[in-house]
């Protein structure tokens, strides 16, 4: 029933979690890529810069040689050798450095013979035939022969070669002439050395100040030519020093020449590390590349640097995956936590609902019970202020609960009881009392109309929030009290009215029997004696009934005193002697060895109990059997026991024995006499002495009826006076 509300936050959390994880992934990926791009850009820039710097260093070298030529009157072959050798040795990229004079046809022979005289006997201007063989140069207006050459070794084939005979070289020469500035050729295959390696020829014009020239223009007399092997130049570039991360392990550098028609021509390519050779121009497998423009002399080159840094499928590295993984984990944890919280909340809500429902129903039913209970219910706090008052209480006292709640409980007490009851309340609020503090206490109450009401009050103390609250449950016993009073008066009257004629009957019979005995026949005497005996029994019955009613009403009063147990027993013994003699019973007494064993009790009532036990024993004993009264003590009680040799009482009758009008055999009543009230009254008397009364069968088949009362102590006396 609560599942839908549960799902909304969780699905929201799932969606948000996925969204955020994706964003984290994308973000981190982007950042990583940016970072790597930045690094790669940096590497690229640096490589291009290094390359440009390197190649321009070569150009500078060439320019400085050209300047030397321009300033010197004449540079012979040996001068050239000494000047150039240390320079080309400085860079491995130079295949050769050459002097190219511009030689008009008419000066050809002069230059050829000059070279021969320098020690090159076969020197002549040469060119390449279409078949690829070197042949003497054809007749031309002007020649651009390789005249000085260093190092000679390895470049022998180039000496005397007319550069103007080959188009690529010639166009570079023409460029240099036109601009009077350094010009580089497109990559060419060399005619000497390793032909496969691409090289560029850089022509630096040598322009002497022409004193004689009318336009005062510098006249270009020749060129300093640098043959630069581009692959060797690339060899000198190392990306290692620019690589900061572990990425870009494999880098490819490719050099292109930009053409005028926006296309480009591949020059050379290089892989790092070197052993990882890839086919030239195949840069497709690289996932990142940068192009830098390089200006060199009059040429524009492109250096393309490529790398494959993607080590993982479509990811720059594992960081985004890792970050989004953490994010997903975080959200999974969050969602799991959320689910558990929601479930807990759900359960708690369900429990709360159930509890609330059951609380409401239990509170309602409790309220209904309290309101409809037949007894009045009042609760007061320890100051005596009334806190609740149910409808029965309203009926009993005539106050409504609205009127009475918040007032002091004394409003319900008759004036004469107020001080007594407030004292009682003070006593109650003392700590250390039992929770149920009073049961069945009869108190007077004051109704709203000023009349009195008798109530039977039970008071208990409960603690709510550490505050004691007294709960009083009471019922109106005014009617009951009235009835009781009527009954007591009735019994008192009846017993009086019964006694008066009984007095006459017994008196008359007694006088006849005792004073006129001789005048009657035996039969008459027997009848008279039967009549007397029964009139006595009737008297006893009236006494017992009266006692009983007094006991029931709690009105049997006791005059307690400190008594000597032996004295009580002796008195009982003496009172029973006559009765025993009449029934031919041998009555004996066994006193307690300690003659000062004291008890606390009403002598008359205790003797009544003793007399009852003795008369029972005598009545139910066979003739000429002994009956004994004995005083003993066990711990803190004194026991009075009467032993007889009668039939005893069956165990099955034990429970009924002390009840009213009970005799073991109902026929006994007539045979033995007695009212059947004696033991019941005795038990009530003994209970009023905080003792007990019972019987047992001795091993020698005697019946022993006994009662116990506590040994006297001052405490007991004090307690009873309270």
């Amino acid at each position: 029933m609560h599942r839908y509300p549960l799902n909304i936050p969780i699905s929201t959390a799932v969606i948000v979690g996925l969204l955020i994880s994706s964003l984290v992934f994308i973000g981190v990926k982007h950042l990583e890529e940016q970072k790597l791009k930045q690094e790669f850009n940096n590497i690229t820039l640096n490589i291009a810069k290094d390359f440009e710097k390197e190649i321009n260093t070569q150009l500078y070298t060439l320019k400085s040689i050209a300047t030397f030529f321009e300033t010197a009157e004449f540079v012979d072959r040996y001068d050239f050798y000494t000047l150039v050798t240390p320079l080309y040795k400085r860079s491995s990229a130079f295949q050769a450095i050459e002097w190219i004079p511009i030689v008009p046809f008419e000066e050809r022979n002069h230059y050829e013979s000059f070279a021969i005289s320098d020690g090159f006997p076969g020197f002549r201007f040469i060119e390449k035939s279409p078949k690829g063989a070197f042949i003497p140069a054809e007749k031309k207006e002007v020649y651009y022969p390789v005249f000085y050459l260093e190092p000679y070794q390895g470049n022998e084939a180039a000496l005397g070669f007319d550069l103007g005979s080959e188009s690529t070289r010639l166009s570079a020469i023409n460029e240099a002439l036109k601009s009077n500035a350094a010009s580089a050729s497109s990559p060419v295959s060399l005619i000497q050395g390793d032909y496969s390696k691409p090289a560029t020829l850089v022509f630096v014009p040598i322009s002497k100040k022409a004193k004689t020239s009318p336009d005062k223009k510098n006249k270009v007399s020749g060129f300093i030519l640098g043959v630069i092997k581009l692959d060797l130049l690339l060899d000198g570039i190392s990306p290692d020093k620019y690589r900061r991360s572990s990425e870009f392990k494999h880098i490819n550098i490719t050099l292109f020449e930009n053409n005028d028609d926006m296309s480009r021509t591949f020059i050379t390519s290089k892989n790092y590390p070197k052993e990882n050779v890839s086919p030239a121009g195949n840069t497709k497998k690289y996932t990142i590349r940068n192009t830098q423009e390089i200006k060199f002399a009059d040429k524009s080159w492109q250096i393309v640097i490529a790398s494959n840094h993607y080590q993982y499928f479509f990811l720059p590295n594992l960081k985004p995956l890792f970050a989004s993984g953490i994010s997903v984990l975080f959200f999974i944890t969050l969602i799991a936590h959320l689910i558990s919280i929601m479930k807990q909340k759900d359960r708690a809500e369900e429990n709360l609902e159930i509890k609330t429902a059951s609380l409401i129903s239990s509170e309602q039913s409790l309220q209904a019970i309290v309101e409809n209970m037949a007894d009045g219910l009042i609760t007061i706090n320890k100051e005596g202020v009334i806190e609740s008052f149910n409808s029965t209480a309203e009926k009993i006292f005539g106050h409504t609960s609205e009127q009475i709640i918040g007032k002091n409980v004394s409003i319900l007490m008759p004036e004469q009881f107020q001080s007594e009851q407030s004292h009682y309340l003070q006593q109650l609020s003392k700590p250390g009392r039992e929770k149920i503090i009073d049961v069945g206490r009869e108190v007077g109450g004051l109704k709203s109309d000023g009349t009195l009401v008798s109530i039977d009050l039970s008071l208990s103390e409960i603690n709510i929030n550490n505050k004691p609250i007294f709960v009083g449950i009471f019922r109106d016993i005014t009617e009951r009290k009235k009835l009781e009073k009527m009954k007591n008066e009735f019994i008192s009257t009846v017993s009086h009215e019964l006694r008066t004629p009984l007095t006459s009957i017994r008196g008359a019979l007694s006088i006849i029997i005792n004073k006129s005995e001789d005048n009657f026949s035996d039969k008459t005497k027997k009848m008279l004696s039967t009549a007397e005996k029964n009139s006595k029994r009737l008297g006893e019955l009236i006494n017992d009934i009266l006692d009983m009613e007094k006991l029931d009403a709690g009105m049997l009063s006791f005059r307690k005193d400190v008594l000597n147990a032996n004295t009580v027993a002796k008195a009982a013994f003496e009172a029973g002697e006559g009765y025993a003699k009449k029934h031919n019973i041998m009555l004996s007494i066994k006193l307690h060895p300690s003659n000062d064993l004291m008890i606390w009790g009403d002598e008359r009532r205790l003797l009544q109990v003793c007399a009852n036990l003795l008369s029972n024993a005598i009545k139910f004993s066979p003739e000429n059997s002994p009956v004994k009264i004995e005083v003993s003590s066990i711990e803190n009680v004194v026991r009075f026991t009467v032993f007889d040799h009668g039939e005893g009482v069956s165990e099955s009758f034990r429970s009924q024995l002390f009840e009213r009008f009970s005799q073991a055999d109902s026929s006994d009543t007539r045979q033995r006499g007695g009212t059947g009230l004696g033991l019941n009254i005795s038990r009530a008397i003994i209970e009023k002495h905080k003792g007990k009364i019972d019987f047992y069968r001795t091993t020698d088949k005697q019946t022993a009826f006994y009662f116990e009362v506590p040994i006297y102590s001052e405490k007991q006396e004090n307690k009873e006076h309270l």
Binding site: T500, T503, S504, G507, I511, R604
Partner: protein, 122 residues
């Protein structure tokens, strides 16, 4: 004058009066039986009793009231008085003794010992 004890007995029950008369004859008493308190008050001074025996519950004037009035007669202040009653509860007995009675004899009484009980009170 004989040595007989002069007993004034007030009892409104004729039967009991008769029984008491029987029980006390030949026991050394000079008896004056009155059937009401008023009668006793009329005759008491002339009879000049040694001891008073009064029933408690009587129609008209009850025993305690009768005793109270008798006590007001000159020389009657200290005459021993006994009550004869069917009310035998301790508090009832105590109340009667508090009125100045020497003894309370309960009904039904033992006719054979009645005379001795009265004599004991003198």
């Amino acid at each position: 004058m004989s040595d007989n004890i002069r007993l004034l007995y007030v009892e409104d029950e004729e039967d009991i009066l008769a029984i008491a008369e029987c029980a006390l004859e030949d026991e050394g008493f000079d008896l004056l039986f009155c059937s009401s308190g008023l009668e006793a008050l009329e005759k008491a001074e002339a009879f000049s009793p040694d001891i008073l025996l009064l029933d408690v519950m009587m129609s008209g004037m009850d025993g305690p009231t009768t005793l109270e009035k008798l006590r007001k007669i000159p020389h009657f202040e200290n005459i021993p008085a006994l009550f004869l009653t069917a009310k035998v509860q301790p508090q009832e007995v105590n109340a009667l003794l508090a009125l100045g009675a020497k003894k309370v004899i309960s009904k039904p009484f033992d006719v054979m010992t009645l005379a001795d009980q009265i004599k004991d009170a003198l």
